[in-house]
Protein backbone atom coordinates (compact mmCIF):
# COMPACT_ATOMS: atom_id res chain seq x y z
CA UNK A 1 0.00 0.00 0.00
CA UNK A 2 1.46 3.34 -1.00
CA UNK A 3 1.40 5.87 1.82
CA UNK A 4 2.08 9.51 1.07
CA UNK A 5 4.79 11.29 3.02
CA UNK A 6 2.24 13.65 4.50
CA UNK A 7 -0.56 11.34 5.41
CA UNK A 8 -3.70 13.27 4.68
CA UNK A 9 -5.93 11.99 7.46
CA UNK A 10 -5.99 14.96 9.76
CA UNK A 11 -9.28 14.46 11.45
CA UNK A 12 -11.39 16.56 11.62
CA UNK A 13 -8.82 19.15 10.56
CA UNK A 14 -5.15 20.02 10.62
CA UNK A 15 -5.75 22.29 13.59
CA UNK A 16 -7.73 19.82 15.65
CA UNK A 17 -6.59 19.73 19.28
CA UNK A 18 -8.12 16.30 19.80
CA UNK A 19 -6.23 14.85 16.89
CA UNK A 20 -2.93 16.30 18.05
CA UNK A 21 -3.44 14.83 21.50
CA UNK A 22 -4.48 11.47 20.11
CA UNK A 23 -1.44 11.21 17.86
CA UNK A 24 0.78 11.77 20.85
CA UNK A 25 0.06 8.36 22.39
CA UNK A 26 3.11 6.13 22.53
CA UNK A 27 3.71 3.21 20.18
CA UNK A 28 6.44 0.62 20.77
CA UNK A 29 8.91 0.74 17.89
CA UNK A 30 12.11 -0.95 16.84
CA UNK A 31 14.70 0.81 14.72
CA UNK A 32 15.50 -1.02 11.50
CA UNK A 33 18.10 1.47 10.38
CA UNK A 34 20.67 3.45 12.29
CA UNK A 35 19.73 7.06 12.99
CA UNK A 36 22.89 9.09 13.39
CA UNK A 37 23.38 11.66 16.13
CA UNK A 38 19.98 10.98 17.68
CA UNK A 39 21.14 8.84 20.59
CA UNK A 40 19.72 11.38 23.03
CA UNK A 41 16.21 10.18 22.21
CA UNK A 42 16.91 6.92 24.03
CA UNK A 43 17.51 7.80 27.69
CA UNK A 44 18.80 4.32 28.58
CA UNK A 45 21.31 3.96 25.76
CA UNK A 46 24.51 5.96 26.15
CA UNK A 47 25.66 5.96 22.55
CA UNK A 48 25.67 8.83 20.09
CA UNK A 49 23.56 7.10 17.47
CA UNK A 50 20.34 5.14 17.60
CA UNK A 51 21.54 1.70 16.54
CA UNK A 52 19.62 -0.90 14.54
CA UNK A 53 17.48 -2.90 16.91
CA UNK A 54 17.01 -0.16 19.50
CA UNK A 55 13.58 -0.44 21.05
CA UNK A 56 11.85 2.82 21.88
CA UNK A 57 8.38 4.07 22.57
CA UNK A 58 7.74 6.74 19.98
CA UNK A 59 4.69 8.98 19.77
CA UNK A 60 2.24 7.87 17.11
CA UNK A 61 2.93 10.81 14.78
CA UNK A 62 6.62 9.98 14.66
CA UNK A 63 6.06 6.26 14.34
CA UNK A 64 3.77 6.81 11.39
CA UNK A 65 6.17 9.14 9.66
CA UNK A 66 9.11 6.79 10.11
CA UNK A 67 7.32 3.58 9.31
CA UNK A 68 5.69 4.87 6.16
CA UNK A 69 8.33 5.40 3.48
CA UNK A 70 11.76 4.10 4.17
CA UNK A 71 10.61 1.81 6.95
CA UNK A 72 13.13 3.19 9.36
CA UNK A 73 11.25 1.67 12.26
CA UNK A 74 8.92 -1.27 12.62
CA UNK A 75 6.00 -0.86 14.97
CA UNK A 76 3.99 -3.00 17.30
CA UNK A 77 0.52 -2.18 18.47
CA UNK A 78 0.27 -0.57 21.92
CA UNK A 79 -0.90 -3.07 24.51
CA UNK A 80 -4.43 -1.66 24.56
CA UNK A 81 -4.92 -2.93 21.02
CA UNK A 82 -3.20 -6.27 21.43
CA UNK A 83 -4.71 -9.72 21.71
CA UNK A 84 -5.34 -9.68 25.47
CA UNK A 85 -7.24 -6.44 25.53
CA UNK A 86 -9.01 -7.36 22.33
CA UNK A 87 -10.38 -10.39 24.16
CA UNK A 88 -11.52 -8.24 27.07
CA UNK A 89 -13.27 -5.83 24.74
CA UNK A 90 -14.85 -8.69 22.89
CA UNK A 91 -16.15 -10.22 26.11
CA UNK A 92 -18.13 -7.16 27.14
CA UNK A 93 -17.14 -3.84 25.65
CA UNK A 94 -19.79 -1.92 27.56
CA UNK A 95 -18.13 -2.51 30.92
CA UNK A 96 -14.61 -1.43 30.02
CA UNK A 97 -13.30 1.85 31.36
CA UNK A 98 -12.05 3.23 28.05
CA UNK A 99 -11.04 6.54 29.52
CA UNK A 100 -8.33 4.98 31.68
CA UNK A 101 -7.39 2.44 29.04
CA UNK A 102 -6.86 4.93 26.28
CA UNK A 103 -8.59 8.32 26.34
CA UNK A 104 -8.49 8.58 22.54
CA UNK A 105 -9.28 4.96 21.82
CA UNK A 106 -11.02 5.28 18.46
CA UNK A 107 -8.92 8.10 17.07
CA UNK A 108 -5.69 6.41 18.00
CA UNK A 109 -6.99 3.14 16.61
CA UNK A 110 -7.60 4.76 13.26
CA UNK A 111 -4.12 6.23 13.22
CA UNK A 112 -2.67 2.82 13.98
CA UNK A 113 -4.39 1.07 11.10
CA UNK A 114 -1.55 1.59 8.60
CA UNK A 115 0.94 0.38 11.21
CA UNK A 116 -0.94 -2.75 12.15
CA UNK A 117 0.13 -4.77 9.11
CA UNK A 118 -1.64 -8.15 8.96
CA UNK A 119 -3.60 -7.29 12.11
CA UNK A 120 -5.18 -4.30 10.37
CA UNK A 121 -8.48 -5.99 9.62
CA UNK A 122 -8.88 -7.28 13.16
CA UNK A 123 -8.10 -3.86 14.55
CA UNK A 124 -10.59 -2.16 12.25
CA UNK A 125 -13.29 -4.61 13.23
CA UNK A 126 -12.43 -4.17 16.89
CA UNK A 127 -13.00 -0.41 16.68
CA UNK A 128 -16.33 -0.75 14.93
CA UNK A 129 -17.57 -3.57 17.16
CA UNK A 130 -16.54 -1.79 20.35
CA UNK A 131 -18.40 1.35 19.42
CA UNK A 132 -21.44 -0.63 18.34
CA UNK A 133 -21.52 -2.53 21.62
CA UNK A 134 -21.22 0.62 23.68
CA UNK A 135 -23.30 3.06 21.67
CA UNK A 136 -26.69 1.90 22.88
CA UNK A 137 -25.70 2.34 26.52
CA UNK A 138 -24.21 5.75 25.85
CA UNK A 139 -27.29 6.96 24.07
CA UNK A 140 -29.54 5.58 26.78
CA UNK A 141 -27.66 7.24 29.64
CA UNK A 142 -27.20 10.51 27.82
CA UNK A 143 -30.96 10.87 27.46
CA UNK A 144 -31.93 9.53 30.88
CA UNK A 145 -29.51 10.75 33.53
CA UNK A 146 -29.99 13.64 35.88
CA UNK A 147 -27.57 16.60 35.81
CA UNK A 148 -25.81 15.34 38.96
CA UNK A 149 -25.16 11.90 37.55
CA UNK A 150 -23.86 13.08 34.21
CA UNK A 151 -20.32 13.55 35.51
CA UNK A 152 -19.91 10.01 36.79
CA UNK A 153 -21.57 8.56 33.70
CA UNK A 154 -19.03 10.27 31.50
CA UNK A 155 -15.99 9.14 33.42
CA UNK A 156 -15.62 5.82 31.63
CA UNK A 157 -16.07 7.14 28.11
CA UNK A 158 -13.36 7.94 25.64
CA UNK A 159 -13.19 11.32 23.93
CA UNK A 160 -15.35 10.46 20.95
CA UNK A 161 -18.02 8.82 23.11
CA UNK A 162 -17.97 11.77 25.44
CA UNK A 163 -18.76 14.19 22.65
CA UNK A 164 -21.60 11.91 21.53
CA UNK A 165 -22.86 11.83 25.10
CA UNK A 166 -22.79 15.60 25.44
CA UNK A 167 -24.46 16.14 22.08
CA UNK A 168 -27.19 13.76 23.19
CA UNK A 169 -27.72 15.69 26.40
CA UNK A 170 -27.83 19.02 24.63
CA UNK A 171 -30.42 17.95 22.09
CA UNK A 172 -32.46 16.36 24.86
CA UNK A 173 -32.47 19.60 26.86
CA UNK A 174 -33.35 21.64 23.77
CA UNK A 175 -36.22 19.29 23.05
CA UNK A 176 -37.51 19.60 26.61
CA UNK A 177 -37.37 23.39 26.32
CA UNK A 178 -39.30 23.31 23.10
CA UNK A 179 -41.95 20.98 24.53
CA UNK A 180 -42.55 23.30 27.46
CA UNK A 181 -42.74 26.26 25.06
CA UNK A 182 -39.76 27.99 26.54
CA UNK A 183 -37.46 27.79 23.54
CA UNK A 184 -37.90 31.46 22.66
CA UNK A 185 -36.69 32.79 26.02
CA UNK A 186 -33.46 34.69 25.75
CA UNK A 187 -30.89 33.56 28.27
CA UNK A 188 -27.52 34.81 29.41
CA UNK A 189 -24.83 33.60 27.09
CA UNK A 190 -22.94 30.54 28.30
CA UNK A 191 -19.50 32.12 28.34
CA UNK A 192 -20.72 35.09 30.35
CA UNK A 193 -22.22 32.79 32.96
CA UNK A 194 -18.99 30.83 33.27
CA UNK A 195 -16.98 34.01 33.42
CA UNK A 196 -19.15 35.52 36.14
CA UNK A 197 -18.98 32.32 38.16
CA UNK A 198 -15.21 32.41 38.08
CA UNK A 199 -15.10 36.08 38.98
CA UNK A 200 -17.46 35.42 41.85
CA UNK A 201 -15.40 32.56 43.23
CA UNK A 202 -12.25 34.66 43.02
CA UNK A 203 -13.84 37.46 45.03
CA UNK A 204 -15.24 35.28 47.78
Amino acid sequence: MAVALHYPSYFPSYFSIEDILATNEKVPCKFEKTAHDLGFLDPSGGSKDLEVGTKLELPCWLARALASRRQIVSCQLPKTFRERYREILKADAALVDLHTLSPHFYELGQHLLPLAGPEGTTLGLLLVETLRERLRGIMDTSLNTTEDDAGTRQSKLDQLERSLFLTGRKTFRDHQLWLSRRAHIVTTSHMVTQHNKRKFSEVS
Binding site: I185, H190, T193
Partner: protein, 194 residues
Protein backbone atom coordinates in the same frame (compact mmCIF):
# COMPACT_ATOMS: atom_id res chain seq x y z
CA UNK B 1 11.46 13.43 23.29
CA UNK B 2 11.18 15.95 20.50
CA UNK B 3 8.20 18.29 20.13
CA UNK B 4 7.23 17.99 23.76
CA UNK B 5 7.30 21.71 24.41
CA UNK B 6 4.93 22.27 21.50
CA UNK B 7 2.51 19.78 22.95
CA UNK B 8 2.42 21.73 26.21
CA UNK B 9 0.80 24.58 24.31
CA UNK B 10 -1.90 22.30 23.01
CA UNK B 11 -2.49 20.76 26.42
CA UNK B 12 -2.82 24.20 27.90
CA UNK B 13 -5.58 25.04 25.44
CA UNK B 14 -7.24 21.71 26.04
CA UNK B 15 -7.37 22.26 29.79
CA UNK B 16 -9.03 25.65 29.61
CA UNK B 17 -12.44 25.33 28.07
CA UNK B 18 -15.70 27.21 28.49
CA UNK B 19 -14.84 30.78 27.79
CA UNK B 20 -11.42 30.75 29.35
CA UNK B 21 -8.37 31.83 27.45
CA UNK B 22 -4.93 31.15 28.92
CA UNK B 23 -2.34 33.91 28.70
CA UNK B 24 -0.44 33.95 25.43
CA UNK B 25 2.52 31.72 26.16
CA UNK B 26 5.33 33.53 24.45
CA UNK B 27 7.93 31.75 26.52
CA UNK B 28 7.13 28.25 25.29
CA UNK B 29 6.63 29.47 21.74
CA UNK B 30 10.13 30.87 21.77
CA UNK B 31 11.48 27.58 23.07
CA UNK B 32 9.66 25.65 20.35
CA UNK B 33 11.05 27.96 17.71
CA UNK B 34 14.53 27.46 19.12
CA UNK B 35 14.09 23.71 18.92
CA UNK B 36 12.90 24.02 15.35
CA UNK B 37 15.87 26.14 14.48
CA UNK B 38 18.29 23.60 15.87
CA UNK B 39 16.55 20.76 14.06
CA UNK B 40 16.57 22.71 10.84
CA UNK B 41 20.25 23.52 11.04
CA UNK B 42 21.20 19.94 11.84
CA UNK B 43 19.12 18.81 8.90
CA UNK B 44 20.74 21.31 6.57
CA UNK B 45 24.13 20.04 7.58
CA UNK B 46 23.14 16.41 7.07
CA UNK B 47 21.37 17.11 3.80
CA UNK B 48 24.60 18.61 2.58
CA UNK B 49 26.37 15.38 3.48
CA UNK B 50 23.59 13.29 1.98
CA UNK B 51 23.73 15.19 -1.28
CA UNK B 52 27.39 14.24 -1.44
CA UNK B 53 26.35 10.61 -1.41
CA UNK B 54 26.15 9.71 2.28
CA UNK B 55 22.96 7.64 2.33
CA UNK B 56 23.34 6.72 5.99
CA UNK B 57 22.08 10.12 7.10
CA UNK B 58 18.62 9.69 5.61
CA UNK B 59 16.90 8.19 8.67
CA UNK B 60 17.99 11.07 10.91
CA UNK B 61 16.94 13.65 8.35
CA UNK B 62 13.59 11.99 8.04
CA UNK B 63 13.06 11.89 11.78
CA UNK B 64 14.00 15.53 12.29
CA UNK B 65 11.79 16.55 9.42
CA UNK B 66 8.83 14.78 11.00
CA UNK B 67 9.55 16.61 14.26
CA UNK B 68 9.68 19.93 12.42
CA UNK B 69 6.32 19.20 10.83
CA UNK B 70 4.89 18.28 14.17
CA UNK B 71 6.14 21.46 15.80
CA UNK B 72 4.73 23.51 12.98
CA UNK B 73 1.38 21.83 13.33
CA UNK B 74 1.26 22.43 17.09
CA UNK B 75 2.21 26.08 16.79
CA UNK B 76 -0.28 26.82 14.01
CA UNK B 77 -2.97 24.94 15.83
CA UNK B 78 -2.29 26.92 19.01
CA UNK B 79 -2.64 30.24 17.19
CA UNK B 80 -5.64 29.13 15.15
CA UNK B 81 -7.59 27.73 18.08
CA UNK B 82 -6.97 30.85 20.10
CA UNK B 83 -8.34 32.98 17.27
CA UNK B 84 -11.38 30.72 17.00
CA UNK B 85 -11.99 31.21 20.69
CA UNK B 86 -11.57 34.96 20.47
CA UNK B 87 -14.03 35.03 17.61
CA UNK B 88 -16.60 33.10 19.63
CA UNK B 89 -16.08 35.56 22.43
CA UNK B 90 -17.03 38.44 20.15
CA UNK B 91 -20.44 36.82 19.79
CA UNK B 92 -20.81 35.85 23.42
CA UNK B 93 -19.45 38.88 25.25
CA UNK B 94 -20.15 41.56 22.65
CA UNK B 95 -17.75 44.04 21.14
CA UNK B 96 -15.91 44.75 24.40
CA UNK B 97 -14.09 41.91 26.11
CA UNK B 98 -13.87 41.72 29.91
CA UNK B 99 -10.58 43.18 31.14
CA UNK B 100 -9.20 39.95 32.57
CA UNK B 101 -9.66 38.13 29.27
CA UNK B 102 -8.25 41.00 27.28
CA UNK B 103 -5.16 40.92 29.45
CA UNK B 104 -4.41 37.40 28.20
CA UNK B 105 -4.35 38.40 24.55
CA UNK B 106 -1.14 39.31 22.81
CA UNK B 107 -0.83 42.46 20.75
CA UNK B 108 -1.51 40.94 17.29
CA UNK B 109 -4.54 39.16 18.71
CA UNK B 110 -5.95 42.43 20.03
CA UNK B 111 -5.44 43.97 16.61
CA UNK B 112 -7.13 40.98 15.01
CA UNK B 113 -10.06 41.31 17.41
CA UNK B 114 -10.46 44.99 16.65
CA UNK B 115 -10.39 44.36 12.94
CA UNK B 116 -12.87 41.52 13.26
CA UNK B 117 -15.12 43.87 15.21
CA UNK B 118 -14.87 46.47 12.50
CA UNK B 119 -15.50 43.98 9.69
CA UNK B 120 -18.51 42.54 11.45
CA UNK B 121 -19.93 45.99 12.15
CA UNK B 122 -19.58 47.19 8.58
CA UNK B 123 -21.04 43.95 7.28
CA UNK B 124 -24.05 44.26 9.55
CA UNK B 125 -24.52 47.88 8.46
CA UNK B 126 -24.52 46.84 4.81
CA UNK B 127 -27.36 44.33 5.29
CA UNK B 128 -31.01 45.12 4.67
CA UNK B 129 -32.37 48.46 3.55
CA UNK B 130 -32.70 50.72 6.54
CA UNK B 131 -29.42 51.09 8.35
CA UNK B 132 -28.39 47.48 8.48
CA UNK B 133 -29.27 44.45 10.55
CA UNK B 134 -27.85 43.48 13.91
CA UNK B 135 -26.99 39.81 13.61
CA UNK B 136 -26.33 39.42 17.31
CA UNK B 137 -29.96 40.38 17.93
CA UNK B 138 -32.83 37.85 17.96
CA UNK B 139 -30.74 34.72 18.16
CA UNK B 140 -33.95 32.96 19.05
CA UNK B 141 -37.21 33.76 17.24
CA UNK B 142 -38.98 36.37 19.39
CA UNK B 143 -42.65 36.01 20.36
CA UNK B 144 -43.30 39.57 21.50
CA UNK B 145 -41.85 42.98 20.92
CA UNK B 146 -41.89 43.67 24.65
CA UNK B 147 -40.70 41.33 27.35
CA UNK B 148 -40.78 41.30 31.09
CA UNK B 149 -37.34 41.28 32.62
CA UNK B 150 -35.94 41.03 36.11
CA UNK B 151 -32.79 42.83 37.06
CA UNK B 152 -30.04 40.58 38.40
CA UNK B 153 -27.61 43.24 39.61
CA UNK B 154 -27.41 46.99 40.10
CA UNK B 155 -26.68 48.48 36.72
CA UNK B 156 -27.66 52.12 37.27
CA UNK B 157 -29.54 54.36 34.93
CA UNK B 158 -30.09 53.07 31.45
CA UNK B 159 -31.53 54.80 28.43
CA UNK B 160 -34.14 53.05 26.30
CA UNK B 161 -34.14 54.00 22.63
CA UNK B 162 -36.85 56.68 22.71
CA UNK B 163 -35.03 58.69 25.33
CA UNK B 164 -36.80 57.32 28.41
CA UNK B 165 -34.49 56.25 31.17
CA UNK B 166 -34.97 53.30 33.46
CA UNK B 167 -33.14 52.72 36.71
CA UNK B 168 -31.99 49.13 36.68
CA UNK B 169 -31.82 48.16 40.31
CA UNK B 170 -31.33 44.66 41.62
CA UNK B 171 -34.54 42.58 41.90
CA UNK B 172 -36.76 45.11 40.12
CA UNK B 173 -38.83 44.03 37.13
CA UNK B 174 -39.43 46.03 33.99
CA UNK B 175 -41.37 45.78 30.78
CA UNK B 176 -38.98 46.67 27.99
CA UNK B 177 -38.66 46.33 24.22
CA UNK B 178 -36.74 43.14 23.54
CA UNK B 179 -34.66 44.74 20.81
CA UNK B 180 -33.30 47.27 23.27
CA UNK B 181 -32.56 45.01 26.20
CA UNK B 182 -31.49 41.88 24.31
CA UNK B 183 -27.80 42.43 24.84
CA UNK B 184 -28.28 43.18 28.55
CA UNK B 185 -29.96 39.80 28.93
CA UNK B 186 -27.08 38.14 27.11
CA UNK B 187 -24.62 39.91 29.39
CA UNK B 188 -26.36 38.62 32.48
CA UNK B 189 -27.65 41.99 33.74
CA UNK B 190 -31.28 41.14 33.09
CA UNK B 191 -33.19 37.91 33.07
CA UNK B 192 -36.23 37.25 30.98
CA UNK B 193 -39.32 36.32 32.96
CA UNK B 194 -41.85 34.26 31.11
Amino acid sequence: MLSEKALELIKELDRSKDGKLPAFNEDIIRKVLEEMNTLFQQNQRDVGEAAAGEIRYFPSIHLRHAALDRNKRCLLSYLYNRLERIRTMRWEFGSILPADIRANLCEPEIQWFNRYNKNLASYMRSLGEAGGLDLTQDTKPPKNLYVEVRCLRDYGEWEVEEGDTVVLQKDTTHYLPLAACHHLIRQGVLEQVE
